[in-house]
Amino acid sequence: MSKDDDKGHGRDDRLTLTIGTPKGPFTANFDKAAKVSDVIEAAIKRMKLSGAPEDFEVFHGEQELKPVTRTLVSFGLADGDKLLLAAQGEGV
């Protein structure tokens, strides 16, 4: 488990999220105003995933979090929520 630092933000401004990734889950603390793309970039860095941000998509339950330029809070995410970072794949 890992956590981003708080850097002076109040606790109400932040969310702790657990994200399933192609290399297992990790838990981190994000600013509510962070974008979904920030979560993808954090996952790539933290879990040392190969690929670019556009190679991944993020889901919260039955909701795909897109566009990735939207903020976390705009999707109604709550502290402790779990997200799934999925590698894009093409079925044919």
Binding site: P22, G24, P25, L84
Partner: protein, 151 residues
């Protein structure tokens, strides 16, 4: 007993998959020989299952068989899902990361045009190169694009 490269890779990736399954609400039963049964929630409220066999992985992709919850029944119409681009009407998960999609391996495989040893560089594999990535894709397809069982 000699430990193979496959054993090491599968052990590491199964550890990651087990952790993901616990967080995401997937069921995961580890069988002998590096095989396992994965279960995920489907769009209709039921659960879909696959028995995954990992021999020769990652030289070859794993074999994702449609299965019942125990993994004892595989590849019959009552456990086979349809819908979207992955849950193919031939009765296999159609992706380069599924061994059964290759006609050279399984007669139902839609692809005689893919080379199984090239699965990691097949452009359609993209980043679905780990057991967890494949499981995530299956979970998403089950939740969003699954339509019905074959029978």
């Amino acid at each position: 007993m000699v430990v193979t490269a496959t054993d090491l890779v599968v052990e590491e990736e199964l550890t990651e998959l087990t952790a993901n399954a616990a967080e995401m609400g997937w069921s995961l039963a580890i069988l002998a020989g590096g095989a396992f049964v994965l279960g995920v929630a489907a769009k209709d409220g039921s659960r879909l299952f696959w028995r995954c066999e990992t021999d020769r992985y990652p030289t070859w992709p794993p074999a994702w068989h449609w299965a019942d919850a125990t993994g004892g029944v595989i590849d019959v119409p009552t456990v086979t899902g349809l819908g979207g681009n992955f849950f193919h009407g031939n009765g296999v998960v159609c992706a380069p990361w599924n061994r059964l999609a290759y006609k050279t391996i399984d007669a139902r495989g839609p692809h005689g045009d893919w080379t199984i040893g090239d699965w990691l560089t097949n452009s359609r594999t993209r980043q679905c190169t780990t057991l967890s990535a494949m499981a995530a894709r299956l979970a998403i397809e089950a939740a969003y694009r699954f339509e019905r069982r074959m029978a």
